[in-house]
Amino acid sequence: MRTMADARDETPKDKPARPARGAGWLAKIAPGVRNLVNRRAETPDNLWIKCPDTGEMIYRPDLESALWVTPAGRHMRIAPPLRFKYTFDGGAYEALPVPSVVEDPLKFADQKPYPERLAAARKATGEPDAVALAFGGIRDVPAVVMVQDFAFMGGSLGMAAGETFVAGARAALERQVPYVAFCAAGGARMQEGAFSLMQMARTTLAIQELRRARLPYVVVLTDPTTGGVTASYAMLGDIHLAEPGALIGFAGPRVIEQTIRETLPPGFQRSEYLVEKGMVDRIVERSELNAVLGSILATLMLGRKTRAA
């Protein structure tokens, strides 16, 4: 629950590329140079995106058509609208409403009052909080999908995210369809104190409702998933899929390094490591997620139908 600081910054949004403002003649003749000059390579407004692994400049439209997967295979973090678009058949879905919750229950302030941080995150992401919900078809299997947005205060699990997770499970129950959760979070939202801790229990209760109804609950772990989210709904799926290279763990790597006073081996807490350690069923490339999810959900739902018949 202490790993937000470990996060790498790259937060592409589903916004059209705009020409760089104020870059003048240089941007016109060599758009990539501006990125090199003022190091804003990862911001969405740029036409060229710097690969976080190789440093290579990638033409944004190319990256978009590759579903924000770099030529080096890095699955970059994406916002909920893009995730929904890639996950549902034909990119078609119905956004579901998210419940409203009490804001700032502790009247919390660190260096900034929490409401200011919330307002800034809302402005930056265009989302009300870190979790969004949608309903649509995945290879013709209707499903409710939850997406956690790391760009919104590290995807942190607070009352809004917890309540939205519960609402998503209820929407799946109501429609008698599977629930798919795309997880991404640094952990619990510290600014909501024990209220955020309680979301670990509340989301677990919602999963139990799905279990009792024999509705599939499938988790897709994306980069990064750590802390209280890993210690609750991210690890309670009937099936755990993961995108390649995602950081997945309970304690963040920095916390562990401070504890053991050693540098961690490369690949530690990455998706591939979790498959090897038995915590994840399968790594799925972003371009395959719709097909793999569709297949899994169809099989599980067919079994369920047989039982009901």
């Binding site: 629950m1 202490r2 937000m4 600081a5 919750v101 009490v102 804001e103 700032d104 229950p105 502790l106 919390f108 302030a109 660190d110 260096q111 009352m159 917890g162 309540e163 519960v166 619990a188 510290m190 909501e192 104190g193 024990a194 209220f195 955020s196 801790l197 309680m198 670990m200 229990a201 509340r202 677990t204 209760l205 999963i207 139990q208 802390g227 209280g228 890993t230 210690a231 609750s232 709904y233 991210a234 690890m235 309670l236 763990g249 309970f250 304690a251 916390v255 562990i256 504890t259 053991i260 961690l264 530690f268 807490q269 350690k277 038995g278 915590m279």
Partner: protein, 323 residues
């Protein structure tokens, strides 16, 4: 224990000084003849009691954090020896190992057959190492699940004592699925059809605490804390400096008195005037009385009612009475 060997917290300095004076005076009194300083001693002792009562009546959240972690505060083993008859420790998760950061077993609590478990921090170097300072690895939580399975199988209520800085952040723990282990333990608490009462007797540190605290009733000792992250770790993230921990303790509202208003805990158990460590027996008895009362009330519910009450309890948190 003398004033020189007793563990004093920073805010207890004046008390420590006074107690040292009392000891000095008693020694002088021994040489000067019996009863020489009786009057002075009585007055000083009275003054110490007043100081202690005053200090503990208005502890701030950071001071409470220190009290909650006080090395002489009663721990799991003290509660077991004070409250559980015929305790039989059960060890191991049946998968990998036995983690002594979580201790549990069978016994009788005031005549009732129970499963009892809790975090144990240890009380000296040897036992602290043995219990890993109360910071559990996955095996600790998997043992908890196993014990709860047994409670379900034999219709036994579950009593837990929560006292941990948090789950252990280590390579092995990660390798063996720390997150999954905590999640499954929380889930098992929430699916029990027998009554479960958790008491936060020291530190309720984050998910590692919740894993055995997702109970029908959550009780807390007067000076215990329950928090999503330790004030130190929270401070190092939000302030980039651990030194702001007292401010963080204040901002996160981690005290029993804050949490009861939020519905996150259900009942505060008063501590002896100088904190639970000043009179462990009294503190242990008070905890026992409260747990007994809560358990007896829960026995009136059906297995379904137990499940529903627990779910309603957690779903209600944050939905009303806040803001």
């Amino acid at each position: 224990m003398t004033a020189a060997t007793r563990h004093y917290l920073d805010f207890e300095r004046p008390i420590a000084d006074l107690e040292a004076k009392i000891e000095e005076l008693s020694r002088l009194s021994d040489t000067a003849g019996p009863g020489a300083f009786d009057q002075e001693l009585a007055a000083l002792k009275h003054r110490v009691e007043d100081l202690r009562r005053e200090a503990y009546a208005r502890l701030d959240p950071w001071q409470k954090t220190q009290v909650a972690r006080h090395p002489e505060r009663p721990h799991f083993v003290d509660y077991v020896s004070g409250l559980i008859d015929e305790f039989v420790e059960l060890r191991g998760d049946r998968k990998f190992a036995d983690d002594q950061a979580v201790v549990g077993g069978l016994g009788r609590f005031r005549g009732m057959p129970v499963v009892v478990m809790g975090h144990e921090k240890g009380h000296d170097t040897t036992t602290r190492l043995k219990h890993n300072f109360g910071m559990a690895r996955p095996e600790g939580y998997r043992k908890a699940v196993r014990l709860m399975d047994m409670a379900e199988q034999f219709s036994l209520p579950v009593i837990t004592f929560v006292d941990t800085a948090g789950a252990y952040p280590g390579v092995g723990a990660e390798e063996r699925g720390q997150g999954e282990a905590i999640a499954r333990s929380t889930e098992r608490c929430l699916s029990l059809t027998t009554p479960m009462v958790a008491t936060i007797v020291g530190e309720g540190g984050s998910g590692g605490a919740l894993a055995i605290a997702a109970a029908n009733r959550v009780l807390i000792l007067e000076h215990s804390i329950y928090s999503v992250i330790s004030p130190e770790a929270g401070s190092s993230i939000l302030f980039r400096d651990r030194a702001e921990a007292p401010r963080m303790a204040n901002a996160m509202k981690i005290t029993a008195q804050d949490l009861i208003g939020f519905g996150i805990v259900d009942r505060i158990i008063p501590e002896p005037a100088g904190g639970a460590h000043s009179d462990p027996d009294a503190a242990i008895k008070a905890v026992g009385d409260a747990v007994e009362e809560e358990l007896k009330a829960l026995f009136k519910l059906s297995p379904d009612g137990i499940l529903r009450q627990r779910a309603d309890r957690f779903y209600a948190i944050g939905r009303k009475g806040v803001g």
